[in-house]
Symmetry: C2
Subunit: 120 residues, 2 copies
DNA sequence: ATGGCTGTATTATGGCACTGATGCACCTCA
DNA sequence: TGAGGTGCATCAGTGCCATAATACAGCCAT
């Protein structure tokens, strides 16, 4: 009832944000390997039934962060070390911004993270 | 980078949702005791510098869920057993909708809930 | 060189969520 | 009975999001 309305799985969540989350996960997991080319905005748009501009908006922040490089007329490539940099950045942000709140919320609901760790 | 933009602490989060979270927590923690009257929409609005209608929207869902009863011209009261019902409902929703995603996200970031349980 | 692929800038539009101002119906209490 | 407190309905304004239709600039293989 708190975060639920805005989780990554929430269909109401803006498309460009859902795409951004998915792309970040794919980079970290090596689905989009370093040095390799990312799917074109048009291809990814067609795959998701979205607008190419919406996909471009999802790609935008990765460029700003230097995790992805653009070769005009060719495509976008994953920078060397992008996966580890992205993972470190997300981990830091998670521990700083999200975890304390999740922890407090679970405490209020009478839940212990250590117990729930069993669920793989 | 995923949930961060939509956490309860995020200033971009809609006011009525932040209020709703806070009210739910207050009911569960007994800050608003069962049988007692809730702060009026105008009072709570003034306290938070928000619009009375925004507060009313935050109260809305609690009425729909039968956790709060309205006496027209008087005020809104917390129903008997509302705290426990609310806690049970939130816990179920958390485990079903939020925890799996959080768990997967932590796994991707190389984090173990059992280890982080130390942080109180 | 030409066709086909890249990303991107521009402009316009529709939809929707959020917030706000005003006024009304209702109740309680002096 | 009148004053002041409830919740709530109506209408309007604002901004973000997504889409669309073009058009342009660059690269590459044929």
């Amino acid at each position: 009832m708190a975060l639920m309305h805005l989780m990554a799985t929430n269909p109401n969540r803006p498309v460009y944000l859902k795409l951004r989350d998915q792309i970040a996960a794919a980079i970290i997991d090596g689905v989009y390997p370093e040095g390799e080319m990312l799917p074109s905005v048009r291809a990814l748009a067609a795959e998701h039934g979205a607008n190419p501009l919406t996909v471009a908006k999802a790609y935008q922040q990765f460029q700003n962060d230097g995790l992805v490089e653009v070769q005009r007329g060719v495509g976008m490539y994953v920078v060397k070390g992008a996966a580890e940099r992205l993972r470190a950045r997300e981990r830091e942000a998670f521990l700083r911004d999200e975890w304390p709140e999740i922890r407090a919320r679970m405490a209020r609901l009478g839940l212990d993270p250590a117990d729930l760790a069993i669920f793989t």
